[in-house]
């Protein structure tokens, strides 16, 4: 019984918004697209604000690596975001090579160079209107800096911190999804299959036994978790790049930075 002409529904949804793109409004490309449009502040500001919230830590780490104290680094990071918006820095980005990560780092370096020249750029608390700073976030950023403080260069430190913030956002999104499905316990038990770590992986048999499920069920849970994480991570990356190809490039590049000697 054919009830419906449905073949095109999925395809259409995908074609219009890009594959799996659930957050068009916070997409970096929205920021880029907005730079020449009249509606710029309405679309660009919230999009940028959300992205900046996620990547506040890496920027802070970079500022810290320049030798600023905790408080100065916080202020400078906040001021930097205010500066980006106020001066519409994003309007000058070359769209063809406009990755959010490189855009932010280059802008931050410029900003810091000017800040060192002139104290007036350092408006204490200047970014608060744009991006409120929470204590917890500040602590996490400091811990991120400490973790990577021995990186061989400031760029590498920034990229490592960025990678860390990126996977945290992906894991966070996935964890929230599982929580929403009342599968928090399952997620916590299985996250090691995605996140690895020092502890050895449990065997399927022992974990299945502990969770009281069949081994085959456990396997499919793990497969599903990995697939979902992959999508969550790629969705996060997608928000910071322009094209699907750049998602792979970005991940490869970060992995390269991480594993290089």
């Amino acid at each position: 019984m054919i009830l419906i002409e449905t073949v095109s529904v999925n395809t259409r949804v995908r074609d219009e918004h890009g594959e799996g793109d659930l957050f068009p409004s916070t997409h970096w490309s929205v920021v880029l697209a907005a730079r020449s449009s009249q509606a710029e502040p309405e679309t660009a500001r919230p999009a940028l604000a959300e992205l900046c919230q996620i990547y506040w830590g890496p920027l802070y780490s970079f500022v810290r690596s320049r030798g600023y104290t905790v408080h100065d680094a916080q202020d400078l990071t906040q001021s930097f975001f205010a500066f980006v918006l106020e001066h519409k820095i994003y309007a000058r980005v070359d769209r063809r090579k406009g990755r959010f990560r490189s855009f932010l780092l280059a802008s931050l370096k410029n900003f810091l160079a000017n800040a060192e020249d002139s104290e007036r750029t350092l408006k204490r608390g200047g970014g608060q209107d744009f991006l409120p700073l929470h204590e917890e976030q500040a602590e996490q950023a400091e811990s991120l800096f400490q973790t990577h403080s021995r990186a061989s260069s400031e760029d590498r430190l920034f990229d490592l911190s960025w990678a860390e913030a990126l996977v945290a956002a992906g894991l966070g999104r996935l964890s929230a999804d599982y929580k929403g499905e009342s599968k928090e316990k399952l997620f916590n038990e299985l996250r090691i299959f995605v996140a690895g770590g020092v502890d050895p992986l449990p065997t399927y048999a022992e974990l299945a036994d502990r969770l009281g499920i069949a081994e085959s069920t456990l396997r499919s849970h793990v497969t599903r978790l990995r697939a979902r994480y992959r999508e969550a991570l790629r969705a996060e990356v997608r928000r910071t790049v322009n094209t699907e190809t750049e998602v792979d490039e970005e991940l490869h590049e970060l992995l390269h930075v991480l594993t290089e000697v």
Binding site: M1, I4, V13, A195, G196, R219, L251
Partner: protein, 467 residues
């Protein structure tokens, strides 16, 4: 990787990269995004000919099943780039050098590979490892579960469902008869039910090949091939075995589908053989399960101790099954005929649906209602039509994207009616698909596939992959 690490640096147990921070491995987390294999506790590959056994996330070889003699793996055909079920039999050391054993296996496997039928999982390739330690064959990968697994989980089937499965198995037997091939180990564990409710018989004609290669000679019973509970009485003896032996096993399988039990069970082969060769099948089990009389009669004849009293061929069995189905359809038709109620209920659903179609809010309420009903009934087995459900999923998806108006009006009405009657007291939704969908309290649309809960996204991913 490969960098000498200062002692005391924590490294990831999976990929060996240094681990910092909270203890998660950043490299593993990034690599998963690139879909590279991250977890490889068993880096060596297991390959037979052109077939490479796939590894699960934990690095273990991906087993689809394990029997007394052989293991079935999920494997990749490296040449044709497709996935297959690979059955591997370890040849015992005692007969490893035997050219006769090897040839016998290849001869049996070759005969089996000639059989192609929609109800038989096709054999693509067979071979023996160069060192003679293993024999293997690659079979069509069937997505689904065995009849045995289904019954153990959901309990016995009703007469109509069981009969439909028996008919499909019999089609396979008819095709095999044309090749003079007998299965010899027909049993619920060798019947795959696909996700689209098709039946595929696996290991057709290979039971003997496997047994030969595995050197499994039962000392008491000569060359016993099969699974005692589902084997025919003559398989316990030394006499010839023909197609009527498979007919007996099919009867035993049908019995199992209807009752969850094998007709003759026992703790030892001796005990089972004694019952099979001496006792009539315990028909009381069927009566207790309210199995219709025509079906009981059919089972009596297929399970006759004397092969001469069974249907003489698969074709004859098919005639008997179809006659039985006609009688049952007639009976079921009478028992469930409530035309007034059915049409009234359905008219009401359609009237409601028309009202709902123009109002997204009531549509949402309808989803919730359907959800509650479905959830309340989710313990029961429930059948829906596959196409129907797919349409429903797309509607839900389109609805979530605010695009439900792009679905044609008639279709929307039907689907809404289906949703409203998700718990289907009037058999509104035709049989076939073992899926049940509902929206939970958190407004998450979930699908219950048997006991597996899937989210909509999982389902869509799976559906796309299948397509």
């Amino acid at each position: 990787m490969g960098t000498p690490l200062a002692s005391g640096v924590a490294v990831c147990s999976v990929c060996g990269e240094p681990v910092k921070g909270k203890g998660d491995c950043l490299a593993c987390l990034l690599r998963t995004g690139l879909e590279e294999t991250v977890v490889q506790t068993k880096p060596s590959t297991l390959a037979f000919g052109d077939f490479e056994v796939e590894q699960g996330a934990g690095g273990s070889y991906w087993e689809l099943g394990r029997g007394a003699i052989g293991v079935t793996y999920l494997a990749a055909d490296k040449v044709l780039r497709r996935r297959v079920a690979l059955k591997v039999v370890e040849v015992p050391a005692a007969v490893r050098g035997s050219q006769a054993v090897r040839e016998r296996f290849l001869r049996e496997a070759r005969a089996a590979a000639a059989l192609r039928h929609p109800n038989v999982a096709a054999v693509f390739h067979f071979g023996a490892s160069p060192d003679g330690t293993h024999c293997y064959y690659a079979m069509e990968l069937v997505e689904g579960e065995t009849l045995e697994a289904r019954i153990r989980r959901d309990g016995p089937l009703n007469a109509k469902e069981a009969l439909e499965i028996a008919i499909q198995i019999t089609r396979a037997l008819m095709a095999a008869a044309a090749h003079d091939l007998i299965h010899r180990d027909l049993k619920p564990g060798n019947i795959m039910l696909t996700t689209e409710s098709e039946v595929k018989v696996i290991d057709f004609g290979l039971a003997k090949a496997i047994t030969d290669a595995g050197g499994e000679m039962d000392l008491t019973h000569g060359e016993f091939v099969g699974t005692p509970s589902f084997a025919s009485p003559e398989q316990f003896g030394s006499g010839p075995v023909d197609a009527r032996s498979d007919i007996y096993s099919l009867g035993a399988t049908l019995w199992f589908a209807l009752t969850g039990l094998a007709p003759h069970s026992g703790k030892t082969i001796e005990e089972i053989r004694g019952r099979k060769t001496r006792d009539d099948p315990p028909v009381a089990q069927l009566v207790a399960r309210k199995v219709p009389k025509p079906l009981i009669k059919l089972l009596r004849s297929t399970l006759a101790i004397d092969p001469g009293k069974r249907p003489a061929s698969a074709r004859e069995l098919m005639e008997a099954l179809e006659s039985c189905r006609r009688k049952l359809t007639h009976r079921i038709g009478l028992a469930y005929q409530k035309p007034a109620l059915r049409s009234e209920a359905f008219d009401r659903a359609l009237t409601d649906a028309k009202a709902y179609a123009n109002n997204p809010e009531s549509l949402q309420a309808l989803f919730h209602n359907a959800a509650r009903k479905a959830a309340a009934a989710s313990r029961k087995p429930f059948k829906e039509n596959w196409a129907y459900l797919q349409a429903m999923l797309r509607l839900i998806r389109a609805y979530h994207h605010g695009e439900y108006h792009q679905v044609s009006g008639d279709a929307l009405l039907w689907i809404i009616a289906a949703l409203n009657y998700l718990v289907d007291p009037f058999d509104l939704i035709p049989d076939k698909t073992p899926f049940l969908g509902f929206v939970d309290d958190a407004n998450v649309i979930e699908f219950v596939t048997d006991k597996t809960r899937r989210t909509l996204d999982d389902f869509m991913t799976w559906e796309t992959a299948v397509r």
